[in-house]
């Protein structure tokens, strides 16, 4: 991992730590550690899947896994992070609700970390706050800062939701997908971006909000 990515990662950790301080109700112990662990788990899974889709065999080229800039599969990384979190938390699903606002704020930090990486800019724009790459006359949307602002708002909204099973976690997933979906058209891309995964996040998040409270009393206990 090169240093600019490391700074962005540290910004994400800082934001999630602030989130755990702002919204500390019902949090499990060591919430920031758990979020870092989940992020690392997601990163490993997402990178492995990206490598396989690129035709690079991780067994033949195991060191390629550290080349994070080579690509991380968004959907696999998201699923990997959620599963890692739940596994480390002994599958206490209700804890997802408590950690959700801090997780979303951490993601906002990751996007805001574009300032360290010099990677905030997106498609060309004539808006007054647009700026240009060094040596270029083309001003562009600071799309990653839009995403960061959207995710900060999303974290706050999630923190205001009632304590029902999967309501906060589902809403967080849906709102993260929505923010990425709205900003994706302004993001430079060769592939059009993982729009399908963002739509899936919105759909599954919404489903979790609807389904979660109905699961209480079956095998899962409600948040206390």
């Amino acid at each position: 991992m090169e240093f600019t990515l490391l700074w962005a990662a540290l910004t994400a950790i800082g934001f999630s730590w602030i989130g755990t301080r702002l919204w500390s109700d019902r949090l499990p112990d060591h919430p920031t550690d758990r979020l870092i662990g989940a992020a690392v788990g997601g990163l490993v899974v997402g990178r492995l899947v990206a490598m396989m889709l690129q035709g690079i065999n991780p067994l033949v080229n195991p060191l390629d896994i550290i080349i994070v800039r080579g690509g991380v599969h968004t959907g696999a990384a998201s699923i990997g992070a959620i599963v890692t979190y739940l596994w480390a938390d002994k599958w206490r699903i209700a804890d997802l609700d408590a950690t959700a606002p801090a997780a979303v704020l951490g993601l906002a930090g990751w996007h805001a970390g574009c300032l360290w990486r010099g990677a905030c800019l997106g498609t060309a724009s004539g808006l007054p706050w647009a700026w240009a790459e060094p040596g270029s006359a083309v001003t562009r949307h600071p799309v990653e800062l839009y995403a960061a602002a959207g995710l900060i708002l999303a974290a706050w909204l999630v923190s205001r939701l009632p304590w029902r099973l999967l309501t906060r976690a589902g809403a967080a997933l849906a709102l993260v997908g929505l923010v990425r979906l709205l900003t994706e058209p302004m993001r430079p891309s060769l592939t059009g971006g993982p729009v399908g995964w963002y739509l899936a996040a919105v759909a599954f998040g919404g489903l979790a909000v609807w389904l979660g409270p109905r699961l209480v009393g079956h095998r899962i206990t409600a948040p206390t």
Binding site: E2, V44, L48, V49, M51, M52, Q54, G55, I56, N57, P58, L59, V60, N61, L63, D64, I67, R69, G70, G71, W87, A119, L121, G122, T123, A124, E133, G135, S136, V138, R140, R187, P188, S189, L190, T191
Partner: protein, 172 residues
Amino acid sequence: MPNRNGQSFTMLKRSIVLTLILAACGGTATAGPEDVGGRPDLPATTADEFEAHIGGIDRPAVVNVWASWCLPCRSEAPLLNQAFEQYGSQIEFIGVDVQDNQTDAKAFLAEFGLEFDHFFDRDREVVNFYAGIGTPVTFFFAPNGELFKTHSGILDERTLALNIDELLQLGS
């Protein structure tokens, strides 16, 4: 708490096994020498020859410096392929293989199917001429060979897409 530790250790073992199974499903991609026998050697170039070549191209160009031994080059190769397929009609894509040997270079090209033009620059003359640092490094040229931007290190999708967009704006 021995039970918790034991359980965690079992889960860890399961995770490692799952990771290895997933990894084994990846494409086996290393081409053997027999796969590259039919491919001609990469043409050798000097800094002067390359400058003349790039100066004669009337559209923007992306010049990627790579080597078969370079780990990050493996990760960015599929991305370059994708960009070539998408923008090959508007932008010239050129590869420069440095500090390498022909056999390994051809195996690398066969492995990733990089079908744009490549040059062989054993002594890094071209890279040094344009003041590039390390491998990989990617040069973005305006039409007629004016160096627009140098990106040292691995390319990610955003960086490549953004710089291609900049080149297209220059060309229009």
